[in-house]
């Protein structure tokens, strides 16, 4: 085991890199110094993930690569700078670091004004997002969680589309709205437990009434972030207005924080309330899957369509978690594990797919400056390579076997079957609706006659764009063909979570 503080490095390298980009490179050489510095920083961050992956112990559900030093004391409680990862957070840190490289490349030629600030904002965000996943102290988690909003607020607001101000303020306030309740819940529990450590909060016994309140507070915070029906309305706005890189980060990573919050806080901290809420949560998830799927079908704006499809896909994640609870109650432990694992696979897979979809739309937008499906048609004639790659991602989005999109959904549907036949039927409609909206959009944009002069003048993707899309395509296929590389990372942690969740935390139980 290395003695390097690997997680700290993963958090602070991008942030320090961002400072260098901002103050060291600035707008020199038309911003190309800033770009290269940002790329190098993101690559170093990605390289730091290698020892994290190889050094990760697959046999234990305990926190690994732990770091602990007291930060300061407030009202008699110590807030620690405590970091650590388990099977849930480690893959997400890998995902974050990976997506950052893609995002830096994606902004390479596209961003023309204030390049250094754009790159710096993304790097800062990467560090903060890694911090969210690695934090083991509730207050540290909260700090990272909130701080992350600031760079995203600026990214959407400065480099976004015409309606960006509305979208970004909505994004900020929605998320902030959720987290104030979380803050009070954290304070309440920390005072009860005498510690801000998340692991201590896991052990805190609470009555069912209190658990209900705590669960509700966390639910508001995380449901907004996921986003779950009915608090999802910020997402289409934010996605549509954000620059491509912003959409990618938003879809690929930020949404995962909501579901990560569920496994890190809701389920282990309030297991009894989670069980009691399981039906409601399943219902909301199914509404997201089915209803939002239909909403996606009628979108005329490509980004909006993918945004709604993200909500539907994230519905699978929450479905997986809470189906597991319903299953635990009826002693279907195996299937419960399947549900949770499927949900986690879906998180990572959706990170790749949605990121890739937004990049594809970005590629088209950079050329035509329109996101309307109606402005396209016959793109395959002028951009064959692009059409092929986008085909793969569209299929993955629809859940085609062999791609990563299939694995998670299939596992969750299987688990849902054991819980309730109708859950599974409703969840499975996504395979039809998902195929419908994805493929229909693809057909209208890519196939057919060349629709107009803009499309006729399109140039196929250059090397830079090829590179980022091909890398993502490989990731989608790899995860689709060999999901074990992800599931084996999570296996002990999933088992541990289910064990913890089985134990009632009611006092005296």
């Amino acid at each position: 085991m290395t003695t390097l503080p690997l997680l700290s490095l993963l958090v602070w390298t991008p942030i320090i890199g961002a400072l260098l980009v901002l103050f060291g490179a600035g707008e020199r050489n038309n911003g190309s110094t800033a770009k290269w510095l940002a790329l190098i920083t993101s690559l170093i961050t990605l390289a730091l993930c290698v020892p994290l992956y190889t050094g990760f112990d697959l046999t234990t559900p305990n926190m690994q690569f732990g770091e602990l030093s007291p930060w300061f004391s407030i009202s008699g409680l110590t807030i620690n700078y405590a970091l650590g990862v388990d099977g849930f957070s480690m893959p997400l840190i890998l995902l974050t670091s990976f997506i950052t490289v893609i995002v830096v490349i994606a902004g390479w030629e596209v961003i023309e004004t204030k390049v250094s600030q754009y790159m710096a904002a993304f790097l800062v965000m990467t560090g903060l997002m890694n911090g969210v996943f690695a934090a083991l102290d509730a207050m540290l988690f909260y700090v990272f969680w909130e701080a992350m909003l600031v760079p995203m607020f600026l990214i959407i607001g400065i480099w976004g589309g015409p309606n960006r101000v509305y979208a970004t303020i909505k994004f900020f306030l929605y998320t902030f709205f959720g987290s104030v309740f979380m803050l009070i819940a954290l304070i309440y529990m920390a005072i009860q437990a005498g510690s801000f450590s998340i692991l201590d909060l896991h052990k805190l016994p609470m009555t069912l009434d209190v658990q209900h309140w705590i669960f509700a507070a966390f639910l508001i915070a995380f449901a907004v972030k996921v986003p779950m029906f009915p608090v999802h309305t910020w997402l289409p706005d934010a996605h549509v207005e954000a620059p491509t890189g912003g959409s990618v980060v938003l879809a690929a990573i930020m949404l995962k924080m909501g579901t990560y919050g569920f496994v890190r806080f809701n389920l282990p901290i309030a297991p009894d309330a989670s069980l009691a809420w399981a039906d409601v949560m399943i219902a909301l998830s199914l509404i997201a899957v089915v209803y939002i799927g239909f909403v996606a079908l009628v979108q005329k704006d490509m980004k909006k369509l993918v945004a709604y499809s993200s909500i539907a896909h994230m519905g699978f994640v929450t479905l997986g978690f809470f189906v597991a609870f319903a299953l635990l109650a009826t002693d279907h432990d195996m299937q419960a594990a399947l549900g949770v694992q499927g949900a986690l696979v879906q998180m990572v897979s959706h990170g790749f797919i949605s990121g890739a979809m937004f990049l594809c739309i970005g590629v088209l937008y950079d050329r035509v400056h329109s996101r309307q499906i109606g402005d396209y048609g016959g793109v395959a004639n002028t951009m064959p390579k692009f059409a092929a790659l986008m085909m793969l991602f569209t299929m993955a989005n629809a859940g085609l076997p062999g791609t990563s999109g299939f694995v998670g959904e299939f596992m969750v549907i299987l688990a849902a079957f054991s819980a309730n036949f109708w859950y599974a039927i409703l969840a499975a409609t996504t395979l039809i609706v998902g195929a419908a909206y994805s493929l229909w959009m693809y057909k209208r944009v890519v196939f057919g006659e060349v629709a107009n002069s803009h499309v006729a003048e399109l140039e196929d993707i250059n090397r830079r764009e090829q590179f980022m899309l091909v890398v993502l395509a490989l990731a989608v296929l790899a995860l689709g063909l060999y999901p074990k590389m992800l599931t084996e990372l999570m296996e002990p942690t999933v088992q541990h979570l289910l064990q913890v969740s089985l134990q009632s935390k009611l006092p005296g139980a």
Binding site: F72, S73, I74, S75, G76, L77, K114, Q117, M139, Y142, V143, E146, A147, L149, V150, F153, L154, G157, I158, R164, V165, T168, I169, F172, L173, F176, F177, V180, F181, L183, I184, I187, Y188, A190, I191
Partner: protein
């Protein structure tokens, strides 16, 4: 204890106050005879006074807590920390004011003299331990501030604001004085330790509570807590910005000391009464302050309403009635003073001769004009909104923790929900700076000292936020935590 004080009489505990008093006279004389170009000498003398007072206070901090001078004067850790905060705030406010008052033709020696006297009043208020000295300090501070508001004679708004401030302030003092006289009538004492004994008979107890109500009304007036907040937006707006920066920060620190002395130390027996009253004031301030700020298009008014809202959070801590809560409120008020100085400091920084830069629209496109200062202003706004990791978050957290610990989860929840509404108008400021197109493309003219000061002030939001114990530890120590 009193007798001991008489036997070994020493000026030491009030050396800082005496020093400031003497030096303010010296500043007046220096300004009369050798002001130097642009009153440079007066300025530096004032700053030297603050530095000297700082050194004296730090030196004296090792003395044990003592009640001296006939029990009118308290030397304790609380006073030391607050006074140090006061010096820093005053020094920054004077620095920010320099160019502003010169450009507006009211760079006179009196500005420095009055600032020092107002600060002296605040110092007396902080250490005062009897009703008399409290009132003395309060009036010295208030009268100096009235004059400062009125100093810009050729402005239309300033004299009007001064008039309002004076009338309102006099009314508040009247309330306070009436409460104090009732208290004296009931207990027969004016020193704080003697006031805490509840009178035994029903009628006197009634009067004691009556006194409490008037004292709280007086305090709430001075703090600008709803429903005694009406003067705040007008005065903040009408006063010259440099005075507003001072007015919005230093007196709040002193007011905290006044609350500590008058409520927690003088009337602990009726704690159940005043915690409820303060909680009600807190909620009302949160509501009116945060909602009122949304509609403002003038930055000074916006910050005025935000000040009202901040007093709401500040009062939550005291309303918990625990020493943990007091420490939280103390932390809050010190951090707030720093943030509000930053906010008004930025307005001063962007202002130039003939241009106040106090409308929200004046900040349009600041990011394009100067990314660095836009970033600093964003740090200040985010800090005020209570977004971690900026410093403004930690006192909010501590205040909420104190409330939850005292069983007032609802109060913490109310505060948290209203911080969401507050967030909106701070975001609006950020939005104007970053997302709107600049109309005014003129370069920023400011002295190097000003640039350094505002940069330090803005960066402090982040740096102190990462290392909050630099302030927090002293607050906890002041309350023996």
């Amino acid at each position: 204890m009193l007798e001991n004080g008489m036997q070994t009489f020493s000026f030491a505990p009030m050396a800082a106050e005496l020093f400031v008093l003497v030096m303010s006279c010296v500043v007046m004389l220096v300004d009369l005879f050798v002001p130097g170009p642009n009153r440079r000498n007066s300025f530096w003398m004032a700053q030297a006074t603050l530095l000297g007072a700082l050194l004296i206070t730090i030196n004296l901090s090792s003395l044990p807590n003592a009640l001296v001078y006939g029990a009118h004067f308290m030397h304790d850790g609380l006073g030391t920390v607050l006074k140090v905060g006061l010096y820093i705030v005053t020094a920054i406010a004077l620095l920010y004011a320099r160019a502003y008052i010169a450009e507006r033709q009211f760079m006179r020696g009196e500005y420095y003299l009055l600032s020092l006297l107002a600060m002296l009043g605040a110092m007396v208020l902080i250490t005062a331990y009897s009703l008399l000295t409290i009132y003395l300090g309060l009036e010295l501070m208030s009268l100096s501030l009235y004059a400062m508001v009125a100093m810009q004679r050729d402005s239309k708004q300033a004299p009007e604001a001064a008039m309002k401030y004076f009338v309102m302030g006099a009314l508040a003092s009247g309330f306070l004085l009436f409460g104090m006289s009732l208290l004296y009538g009931v207990t027969g004492h004016i020193t704080i330790p003697h006031l805490s004994m509840l009178p035994s008979d029903e009628g006197a107890l009634m009067l004691y509570r009556f006194a409490l109500v008037f004292i709280i009304a007086g305090i709430a007036f001075k703090l600008g807590a709803v429903p005694f907040h009406m003067w705040i937006p007008d005065i903040y707006h009408g006063a010259p910005t440099s005075v507003t920066a001072f007015l919005g920060s230093a007196p709040k620190i002193a007011a905290f000391a006044m609350i500590m002395r008058l409520l927690t130390e003088a009337m602990p027996e009726v704690k159940a009464d005043w915690t409820v009253m303060l909680a009600a004031l807190a909620v009302a301030s949160l509501v009116i302050g945060n909602i009122g700020a949304i509609a403002q298009s003038n930055l000074k008014r916006l910050l005025a309403y935000s000040a009202i809202a901040h007093m709401g959070y500040f009062l939550i801590g005291i309303a918990s009635g625990t020493s943990e809560g007091y420490a939280a409120s103390m932390f809050y008020i010190l951090v707030y003073a720093l943030m509000t100085l930053g906010g008004f400091g930025m307005i001063l920084f962007l202002a130039r001769a003939g241009f106040e830069s106090d409308n929200l629209s004046d900040l349009k496109g600041l990011w394009q004009r100067s990314p660095w200062y836009a970033l600093l202003m964003m740090l200040i706004m985010m800090s005020m909104a209570g977004i971690p990791p900026f410093i403004g978050f930690w006192p909010k957290l501590q205040v909420f923790m104190a409330a939850v610990n005292a069983g007032q989860v609802w109060l913490a929840l109310t505060g948290a929900v209203f911080s969401l509404i507050g967030c909106y108008y701070y975001l609006k400021v950020v939005k104007v700076m970053f997302f709107d197109q600049a109309e005014d493309k003129s370069p920023i003219t400011a002295s190097t000292a000003m640039r350094v000061a505002i940069s330090a002030n803005g960066l402090a939001m982040l740096v102190l936020g990462l290392f909050p114990s630099t302030i927090l530890a002293y607050c906890l120590k002041a309350f023996g935590g």
